[in-house]
Symmetry: C2
Subunit: 337 residues, 2 copies
C-alpha cells in the first residue's frame, strides 16, 4: 500500500540513475540513451510517478495556467467562449482558471490583483467594462482581450459589432421599415457602445429618422428586454422594428409582447445579436447576427499561447467575421401605419 506519492528521487533510485536523468527522460527524451530511457520509463511505471506540477512550475518560473476574467459566469454567452478556450488550452497543458469580476467588490481591483499576483502566465479578458489603467503594471503577464476595449491597443480578438448593427438596420430598411428603435447594452460597455454607434450611423446613412425615445437602455439581460417591452407597449408612437444588442433581451421582449397579445413579427419586427443557441427554437425563430463564440475562444487562446511562448506583450488583433441569420422575427411593417 503505497500511501505516499512517488517523487523524482524515488524514480531515480529505482532506475539506478540520477534525478537529472529522470527529468531529462521526461522532458527531452532524445538526449538520453535508449537503454537508460527505457529503464527510467519502467521505473516511472513501477512507482506510479506523476510529475509534481507545482515544483516544476516553481523551478521553471511559470504557473501553467491562464486566468479568464469575465463579468458573469452564469451568462450562457460566455460559456461557449469558454468551451473554445478550453479546447485549445487543455491540449496545450494549460489550466484554465475562471474568475468573475462581479462577485467581488471592485472589478478593476480584481483585474489588478490577478495581474500582479503572478498566479497565471497570461490573462484573457472577456469583460468590456474594465479600466485601461491596469495595463501600466510593470512585469505583468500577456493579456488578450476577447472583445473590444476602449481605446486600448491590447491584442484582441473581436467582432465587427458596428457592421452587425448596420446589417440589422439594413434588413429592416429593406423590408420597408422607417421607424426603427434600438435596445442597448449597459452604458459604458464597449460592445454596447459600438453596436449603438453602428445603429446610429446606419440609420443616418440610410436616411431613416433617429429618435432618442426609440433608444431604450438595457443591460443585455432578459429582464431588461422585458422592461423594454413594457416601455414599448406604453409608447404612443411605436417603432415598427427593434434591434436588440443581445439575443437575451430580444427573448425577454418577445415573451412580454406575446403575452400582451401582440404578434412578432406582424406587430413588431425584431432582430437580436449573438445567435445564442435557444433562439432558433423559439417561435418565431429569431433573426439575429451570429457571433462564432467558440471560434472567438479558440483564436483568443491561440493568440495568448503564442504571446506566452514568445514572451511578448503585444500581438496582432484578430477580427472575426459575423453573419446575418435570417429567420422569422422580421417582416414588412404593418400597412396603414
Amino acid at each position: 500500500m503505497d500511501k505516499k506519492i512517488a517523487t523524482i528521487q524515488d524514480v531515480a533510485r529505482v532506475a539506478g540513475v540520477s534525478t537529472a536523468t529522470v527529468s531529462r527522460t521526461l522532458s527531452k527524451p532524445t538526449v538520453v540513451a535508449a537503454a537508460t530511457r527505457e529503464a527510467v520509463l519502467n521505473a516511472v511505471a513501477e512507482t506510479g510517478y506523476r510529475i509534481n506540477a507545482t515544483a516544476s512550475n516553481l523551478r521553471r518560473q511559470r504557473t501553467g495556467s491562464v486566468i479568464v476574467l469575465l463579468p458573469n459566469i452564469a451568462n450562457p454567452f460566455f460559456a461557449q467562449i469558454l468551451a473554445g478556450l478550453s479546447s485549445i488550452l487543455t491540449p496545450a497543458k494549460y489550466g484554465m482558471l475562471i474568475a468573475d469580476t462581479q462577485s467581488g467588490p471592485d472589478p478593476d481591483e480584481r483585474l489588478v490583483h490577478y495581474l500582479t499576483s503572478g498566479q497565471a502566465d497570461g490573462l484573457i479578458l472577456l469583460d468590456g467594462s474594465l479600466s485601461p489603467d491596469a495595463l501600466k503594471i510593470p512585469g505583468r503577464p500577456p493579456i488578450v482581450m476577447a472583445c473590444e476595449w476602449m481605446g486600448s491597443d491590447l491584442p484582441s480578438v473581436r467582432v465587427e459589432n458596428g457592421r452587425g448593427a448596420a446589417m440589422a438596420v439594413g434588413h429592416f430598411a429593406q423590408l420597408g421599415h422607417r421607424s426603427v428603435g434600438h435596445v442597448t447594452g449597459p452604458r459604458g460597455n464597449v460592445l454596447a457602445e459600438s453596436r449603438l454607434e453602428g445603429f446610429r450611423s446606419a440609420l443616418t446613412s440610410l436616411g431613416l429618422p433617429l429618435r432618442h425615445d426609440w433608444i431604450l437602455e438595457g443591460d443585455f439581460s432578459m429582464d431588461s428586454g422585458a422592461a423594454a417591452a413594457n416601455a414599448w407597449l406604453a409608447m404612443e408612437d411605436r417603432p415598427t422594428a427593434l434591434f436588440f444588442a443581445s439575443d437575451e433581451m430580444a427573448v425577454g421582449f418577445m415573451g412580454v409582447v406575446q403575452r400582451a397579445g401582440y404578434s412578432v413579427p406582424e406587430d413588431v419586427s425584431i432582430v437580436g445579436f449573438d445567435n445564442i443557441e435557444i433562439v432558433q427554437h423559439l417561435s418565431p425563430a429569431l433573426t439575429t447576427i451570429r457571433q462564432p463564440r467558440t471560434q472567438i475562444g479558440i483564436r483568443a487562446a491561440e493568440l495568448l499561447l503564442r504571446m506566452i511562448e514568445t514572451g511578448t506583450l503585444t500581438g496582432p488583433s484578430d477580427l472575426i467575421e459575423i453573419e446575418f441569420i435570417r429567420r422569422g422575427s422580421a417582416c414588412p411593417p404593418p400597412v396603414g401605419e
Copy 2:
C-alpha cells in the same frame, strides 16, 4: 524601473529583518511585534511585493486550486453552478480550474488523470456518467459530487430528482390528464435515470397507464427536444401531457409544435425540469421543477473545502430541496379526447 518582481528576500532586506519575520507578518501578524510589523508592511508596500503562490504552495504541499470536471462547459445549466462554486472558492483563496470531459477522447481517463496529477487539492464532479472505478486510486484528493452517481457513496450534493418527476406527474393527474409521456435524458446518466424512475413509479402509484411508446429518449439538449416533438407529431395516439427531463428539451419541443400550428398548453401540456432562466420569458412561460443551481454550487464548494481542511475523504451528503413552479404550460387536457 523595477522590471523584476520583488521576492520575500527583497522585503526582508528593505525592512531590515529576516525572511522568516516577513513570512510571519503576512501569515500570522499577531506573533510579531507591532513595530516590526509596521516596518515589514512598509517594506512590502515600497517594494510592491506579492507573495509567490507557486513557491508557497510547494512548501505547504498544496495547490490552492480545485478542479471542476463537467461534461460540457457550453451547457448553460452548469454555468450557474459554477457561479455558486466561484462565490465560495474565490473568497477562500482557491482557484477554480475548469475541465470538460467531452473535449478529450476518454472521459474516465480524464478523471483519473486529474485525480493522480496532483494539480488540485480537491475535485468537484458535475458529470453524472463517469465510472466509479476511478475512486480506488490511493492518495487521491477529496471529491464532491454535485449530482447523483451510480452506487457510489461519495460525499455529494444532490437534488430530489425522483420527487421532482413525481411532482410533475402529480400536477398532470390533478389537472385531469390520464395519458402522460416522458422525454428522458441520455441513457446511462444518473440524473436521467432517477427522473425516469420517479416518473415510472409516480404513474403506477397514481394508477395511470405506463406506455413505452410514450417514453422518448432525449439527451437534455434542445435539439433532442425538437426531435421528440417530431416524434410526438407523428404519433397516432398522442399523450396529452409530457414531462421533460430538462427545460432545454421542453423549449425545443415547444418551438417545433408551435410552428406546426399546435398550441401549448391547449393541445399539449408540458412540464420541464431545472427552471433555467429563460423559461419564464417564453410564452407560455414554462411550468417546471426548480433546482437551485447556485445553491448546489455553494454547498458543494463548502463541503469540499471542509474536507480539504480536515483532510478527510468522506463527508455528509447534502440533499437540496426542489420546488414546483407553476406557470402557463400545463392546463386540463382537451375535452373529447
